[in-house]
């Protein structure tokens, strides 16, 4: 799967070239004039770049196709590690707006991506319910459905940038374990009503159908609030790496709790203490304790452009990026171009709702002197994104999850942009 994602751009070029050639043959056969530029490239092509006609308006373009593909000039890529246990980061610096294209959504798998036949997949709801309920995927889709936009962020997002920052880190490397999607599904509450859940239930267990049968314990109030069982992502069925055919979606909570390939929900009266909420996804603190069941993702932001490895020239640049909070809405994003001495309110894109990122922009005229660009988010609870220094004080360098320090980019006098973590 990951190999295919990596190889896609090259396949695209060869397919495009082939189609363009076929179109030329058709044009000749039909007696149509070929463009003055012909099919040949007139400019020296960069390695891997497609051959382009000198004037694309002088010949017929490629015909329609069953599935669209990206321009051969745009090759965003995740960062697969080639292992079934691992992650693959979303290319934040290559994206605009707030929605993450489905094929660029970050990945985090604990036992690879299972191949599931949706006709055979079922969701079992049992435990403290009136009757254990078995639903097919088609039946899940017959309940009242809702479409909502929410981010998912892995709670380990930003660990290496926090613990071991390096100047050559990109937005993808710093914070690429966050993505944003328009999800379609059914409120979990509707399914639990169908099963007749008992009021004494205080927690539920969600289990995935991957090779580690990943399980997380979730407090029932989340099920009654905004939890969804989703089957679609940006207008089409979930991608396999995002949980096809069903996933739990817990808006604003650490990504691991949005259990993919969802196959079972059991209602009970206490958490199950699974591996994923004991050995992993707990937060050691400087006082010798570890926070457990720490679900909310704190407010966070990152400038995605300009960023490393960009080299700036003097003049106007939009400073733009993403801000999000697991506790509702972002109310303010401030930008500093002088390493935090002064701050300016950035313009925020209209946001669709809660627990969905905003795109922020601040126009900046660079005068050629050294600068440090920072962004700082505030959410509707009044929480202000902390500096790394403040976070180190309350969490320590060895804390394992929930990294949301202010970060930014250093602009050298020669225009070189490098990662800046020391806030």
């Amino acid at each position: 799967m990951t190999d295919r994602a990596q190889d896609a751009p090259d396949e695209l070029i060869s397919r495009r070239t082939m189609l363009a050639g076929a179109a030329g043959v058709v044009a000749v056969a039909a007696g149509l004039p070929l463009g003055a530029g012909g099919q040949g490239a007139s400019a020296p092509a960069a390695p891997g770049a497609p051959k382009v006609p000198a004037d694309p308006t002088k010949l017929q373009g490629a015909p329609t196709s069953p599935v669209g593909a990206r321009s051969a000039f745009y090759k965003p890529s995740r960062t697969p590690v080639g292992e079934t246990v691992g992650n693959s980061l979303s290319p934040l610096q290559d994206l605009t707006g707030t929605i993450t294209p489905a094929d660029l959504h970050f990945e985090r798998h604990h036992a690879g991506i299972p191949l599931i036949d949706p006709a055979k997949h079922t969701l079992l709801i049992h435990g403290l319910v009136g009757t254990p309920l078995l639903l097919s995927v088609d039946e899940v889709k017959r309940f009242p459905q809702v479409t909502r936009t929410h981010f998912i962020e892995c709670s380990g997002n930003g660990r290496s940038a926090y613990r071991e920052p390096k100047p050559d880190m990109t937005p993808q490397k710093v914070a690429g374990l966050v993505s944003n999607t328009e999800w379609t599904g059914v409120p979990l509450k509707v399914l639990l009503d169908e099963a007749g859940f008992k009021p004494e239930a205080t927690w539920f267990l969600a289990e995935g159908g991957d090779a580690c049968l990943l399980t997380r314990s979730i407090p029932m109030p989340k099920a009654m609030d905004d939890a969804l069982v989703v089957w679609a992502q940006n207008g089409e069925p979930l991608r396999p790496e995002q949980g096809f055919p069903l996933r739990l979606l817990l808006p604003g909570w650490e990504g691991n709790t949005s259990v993919k390939w969802l196959r079972r929900i059991e209602l009970g009266t206490r958490p199950w203490a699974t591996r994923w909420e004991t050995s992993k996804y707990t937060d050691p603190l400087p006082d010798g304790t570890a926070r457990q069941y720490s679900f909310d993702m704190d407010a966070k932001s990152i400038i995605t452009t300009p960023a490393h490895p960009k080299v700036l020239t003097k003049g106007w640049w939009p400073i733009s990026g993403l801000a999000w909070t697991g506790r509702g809405k972002i109310t303010r994003v401030e930008i500093s171009t002088d390493n935090g001495k002064s701050w300016h309110d950035a313009e925020l894109s209209p946001t669709t709702g809660v627990k969905a990122p905003v795109r922020f922009t601040h126009m900046w005229e660079w005068d050629g002197s050294a600068a440090v660009l920072l962004s700082r988010a505030t959410d509707e609870t009044g929480y202000v994104q902390p500096t790394r220094t403040a976070l180190l004080k309350v969490r320590g360098i060895g804390t394992d999850f929930h990294f949301n320090p202010i970060v930014g980019w250093k602009v050298a006098a020669n225009g070189a942009v490098t990662f800046h973590a020391e806030t």
């Binding site: 246990v85 509450k189 580690c212 079972r264 050691p284 400087p286 009044g382 969490r395 394992d400």
Partner: protein
């Protein structure tokens, strides 16, 4: 969505067999959706539930019959686990985690100041039942779910003994496993972050 619901309501008025579904609220919370029975899906049989319901809780609920010794587990570990987790449980991080370590430095539970301190079973894990639950559902990596309950008890016994939690002569079954107290169980605390103007 709202227009669709209006249409459904109109249709419902015209056709006695239809019922207007409860509106899915535009507000953030779904709590106000009234309970409604749609008659979709079917009752799962006890056998269907039992086939999937293998989870074990920290109170021991869900532990099956069976037993295993530390010695049996040591043999099994070498044949089924050591190729990834190492002969002494040292692992090959990050894909294959270290399992066995009882580091004296873990005594103060200073993981926040020492990222190198291994989160081994003995240094970190709060519940012994988690070992059983995870090994049974997810291990060995290439044959998950293939171990018998006796084998899972044996491996759990070996891992707990190697991490100096139980004696090397121990035999584990459901009654003894549910009574194992992990060394740092009391170090785990609830989340106290609530947003607002405080960084925690």
């Amino acid at each position: 969505m709202r227009r669709a619901l209006v249409l459904i309501v109109i249709t419902a008025a015209a056709c006695a067999r239809d019922t207007a579904p409860p509106a899915v609220p535009a507000a953030a919370s779904f709590a106000s959706i009234p309970a409604q029975h749609y008659g979709l899906g079917r009752a799962a049989t006890p056998a269907e539930v039992a086939a999937l319901d293998i989870d074990v809780g920290p109170d021991g609920l869900g532990l099956p019959a069976g037993s295993g010794t530390v010695a049996q587990g040591a043999t099994l570990f070498q044949t089924k686990c050591s190729m990834c987790h190492g002969a002494t449980g040292q692992g090959m991080p990050p894909a294959f985690p270290l399992l066995i370590s009882r580091d004296p430095k873990a005594e103060g539970f200073k993981f926040a100041s020492d990222p190198k301190l291994p989160h081994s079973i003995g240094n970190y894990w709060p519940n012994a039942t988690t070992v059983f639950d995870y090994v049974r559902r997810a291990m060995p990596l290439l044959q998950p779910g293939s171990l018998t309950n006796d084998e899972v008890y044996s491996l759990t016994a070996f891992l707990l003994a190697s991490n100096e939690v139980i004696p090397k002569t121990a035999t584990l079954d459901s009654a003894s496993l549910m009574n194992v107290t992990m060394p740092y169980r009391d170090r785990f605390v609830p989340d106290n972050r609530k947003g607002g103007n405080e960084v925690k």
